[in-house]
């Protein structure tokens, strides 16, 4: 409120003129910030010199020399630190993606359950939300890791499900699909089905605009998506072979392994975030006034259609912004995995690499900018989406 524009007195001392005072304040603020920055920079320079640390990102080309318990891309101990960075980044993204998908599913279920006409369901969802969201996520990760997964029996006494899935204290073992040689017809069929459904949807929309006749797009697309690839399976056989986990010696070989660190972090984070998403969804649905439902039914829409065409689009508008920040929280919370040694960005880079190389500034800068980049890109994406669905007001 400093700039009251033309109302400022024409003369007077320097401090009573709002415009001059505004300049003064800003100059002082900038000078302070620059001074602090210079002070920190200067100290860092001296400290680095005294400790004999050379700064720069050259260390990224050096060989890392340590093993990583889970890597989505090929990695050996002789690979460089930049490869370690990629492994860590991918692991962080993996945790985030799994967590977001699970949390969304559980969260929306919870949100709907909170509004159920059934008293018991409503109460159960409420108790769940109030319990889970008041317990620190780190504690929940520890609980899953130390209290649930660690006491599981060893590989020889694994709990098994149909001799296909095995759970023991080294993780969850499951069969992995391996591409069979003659599978290209399957992929082509899948592609045709996807393109076909998109075209069908467009055509149905145009027809409804012209004639008002609805077309059962959903069922037809589902049919396409199941039938076409299904047909190729019938004709040319199953496109996958399964690589089964087999107990050999003291451990399982083959198949996919989900390490216990990953299970605990994904379980804890998705259950924790789901509690918040549930509340978001509930408030979103409640924000759509009852008049909308009544208006829809007076137009002759059935309850299912009312929900799909009237309630959900309006509720989403309220749900999306807080949902985005929940997703961001989940991504940032995935760094808690460092506490149980899951090899993601923080534990690999700010932990192991920093300790090995001593390049504190560079590693911290890289780690933090990864999270900043993820945060900023998710919020930009969500802003775009938000703008698209925003209410167009007069």
């Amino acid at each position: 409120m400093q700039n009251t524009g033309n109302a400022s007195p024409a003369s007077g001392s320097f401090f009573t003129d709002p415009r001059k005072r505004a300049w003064l304040f800003q100059i002082v603020a900038v000078v302070i910030v620059v001074a602090i920055g210079w002070f920190l920079f200067n100290n860092t320079q001296t400290n680095l010199q005294h400790r004999g640390i050379t700064s720069g990102f050259g260390f990224l080309q050096n060989s890392a020399g340590f093993g990583i318990s889970q890597h989505l891309i090929d990695y050996t101990e002789s690979d460089t630190y930049s490869r370690v960075f990629l492994v860590g980044l991918l692991n962080t993204l993996l945790v985030s993606a799994l967590g977001i998908v699970l949390a969304t599913i559980i969260g929306f279920t919870l949100g709907v359950a909170r509004l159920s006409p059934n008293w018991l369901i409503r109460r159960l969802a409420g108790v769940y939300i109030e319990t889970i969201r008041n317990i620190p996520p780190l504690l929940q990760i520890f609980f899953w890791y130390f209290a649930v997964l660690s006491p599981l029996p060893g590989p020889r006494q694994s709990l098994e499900l149909g001799e296909v899935f095995f759970v023991n204290n080294r993780g969850l073992y499951m069969p992995a699909p391996v591409a069979a040689p003659g599978m290209w017809p399957f992929w082509i069929a899948l592609l045709v089905a996807v393109v076909g459904s998109v075209l069908l949807r467009r055509w149905a929309r145009a027809r409804q605009h012209l004639t008002g006749l609805p077309f059962p797009v959903l069922w037809c697309s589902l049919g396409l998506l199941i039938l076409l690839p299904g047909l190729t399976v019938v004709i040319s056989g199953v496109p996958f072979d399964w690589d089964m986990p087999v107990l050999q010696g003291f451990n399982f070989r083959g198949g996919w392994v989900v390490i216990p660190e990953l299970i605990s972090i994904v379980m804890a984070l998705s259950l924790y975030t789901a509690a918040f998403i549930g509340e978001t969804v509930r408030s979103g649905i409640q924000s759509v006034s009852h008049g909308q439902t009544e208006a829809a039914s007076s137009l002759g829409l059935r309850p299912g259609l009312t929900l799909r065409l009237v309630i959900i689009p309006q509720a989403l508008r309220v749900i999306i912004p807080p949902l985005t920040s929940q997703y961001l929280n989940l991504v940032k919370n995935s760094s808690l995995a460092a506490a149980i040694g899951y090899p993601e960005m923080v534990s690999l880079f700010a932990g192991t690499v920093l300790n090995q190389t001593g390049q504190a500034i560079e590693t911290m800068m890289i780690t933090m900018s990864v999270y900043l980049a993820i945060s900023i890109s998710i919020s930009v994406l969500m802003n775009v989406y938000n703008k698209r669905i925003a209410l167009i007001e007069r």
Binding site: N43, N118, N134, K332, M364, Y371
Partner: protein, 366 residues
């Protein structure tokens, strides 16, 4: 001829199936086939989950004893929690000096109590006096000096340390957050840019990296020879980190204040600070109490992350205790106890915020 009078028959009771317990059951639990199914599934799940947990935690649990050998029953071994209770609460604070921690806590409760009574007249003055005096007394009692034996902060631990970090964090983050929010809404471009950058930077990175920063980078940033206490570094980082979140919450409240309020304040001849302090902030802060308390709850939960830089807060002391060879296999008991304690604190905070919201809601609802 007899005098005929119309006597009304007494009204029939409402159908028994629609009122009372049966009616309630019918509308709330068994209103349709689907609902009935849901109810039955939910009941089955409850029956599957609750009795075993109850059995484990109470019926078959061990309460008495002093060592692991005393835990003979099937259920939980609460002896572990009982034996380590002192460590969970005070960390390595010398046992004979723990009365100082207790006294600090009692003083906080007794000192703050008058603020919760509506009849107390001088709330504002008393509150400010308390805010100035209490931290000094608390620091003196906890740390020592001036006649008391000094207990270095490295000996602090357990729930006490968690509460210290949370309390200092809350007390520091709120004013800093309000200042940042004011800066973000400022009409001075330089100040606005500085505040926006600060807020967005701190909100974009996880607290863990910030704590790492405090333990590996701060020594590089500071002049040689100057080293800050580990706890102090962590607390400073927590304050700045949570202030960024508070700032966004407060900004939301300020944006909700109609422009007329600013104009009215200007018409009254109020300058910037008076406009903000007397007109805008009181209304804005009232609007965002739930958001602020939610940030405080998040802060309280986030204090558990100091485990990363090796501080012995409540969660870390429990984690260490469960790794003790004398008490192996007590993880479940330990973490359930920890969850219970954290839950009590967070739930109390959120309940109080709901209460405050109802009390301060001075009739803007339609």
């Amino acid at each position: 001829m007899s005098n005929t009078t119309h006597t009304f028959k007494p009204s029939l009771p409402p159908p028994t199936l629609n009122v009372g317990v049966i009616g309630w059951l019918r509308t709330n639990l068994f209103s349709s086939v689907g609902n009935t199914l849901l109810t039955l599934v939910a009941l089955y799940l409850i029956w599957l989950v609750v009795p075993p947990i109850f059995n484990w935690a109470f019926l078959q649990a061990d309460w008495a004893g002093a060592t692991r050998a005393d835990c003979t029953a099937e259920g939980a071994c609460w002896v572990f929690v009982k034996e380590r209770f002192g460590q969970f609460m005070y960390g390595f604070y010398p046992a004979e000096l723990r009365w100082r921690v207790d006294l600090t806590a009692v003083l906080a409760v007794v000192g703050a109590a008058p603020l919760f009574f509506d009849r107390f007249k001088h709330k504002a003055r008393y509150g400010i006096a308390l805010l100035v005096a209490y931290p000094v007394i608390a620091f003196w009692l906890l740390y020592g000096g001036f006649g008391l034996q000094v207990v270095p902060s490295s000996a602090w631990g357990g729930l006490m340390l968690t509460i210290v970090i949370a309390a200092v964090g809350i007390a520091g983050a709120l004013p800093l957050g309000i200042l940042l929010a004011l800066g973000r809404r400022s009409s001075l471009p330089a100040i606005k840019v500085i505040c926006v950058t600060t807020i967005e930077f701190w909100r974009g990175v996880p607290l863990i990296t910030v704590l790492f920063l405090s333990s590996v980078m701060l020594p590089l940033f500071l002049p040689e020879g100057l080293s800050l206490d580990k706890l102090l570094r962590a607390v400073v980082m927590v304050v700045i980190f949570e202030a960024a979140y508070i700032a966004e919450v407060v900004r939301g409240g300020m944006q909700a204040i109609p422009k007329g309020q600013y104009e009215a304040a200007a018409a009254m001849g109020l300058g910037y600070w008076r406009t903000m302090g007397l007109v805008i902030l009181p209304q804005a802060l009232k609007l965002v109490i739930p958001g602020i308390v939610n940030t405080f709850i998040a802060l309280f939960k986030d204090t558990s992350l100091v485990i990363i830089i090796g501080l012995f807060d409540f969660l870390n002391s429990i984690k260490r205790a469960t790794a003790d060879p004398a008490w192996l296999g007590m993880s479940t008991e330990g973490y359930v106890f920890a969850a219970l304690v954290y839950w009590v604190f967070c739930f109390a905070m959120s309940s109080y915020s709901a209460h405050l919201e109802r009390k301060l809601n001075t009739g803007h609802t339609r």
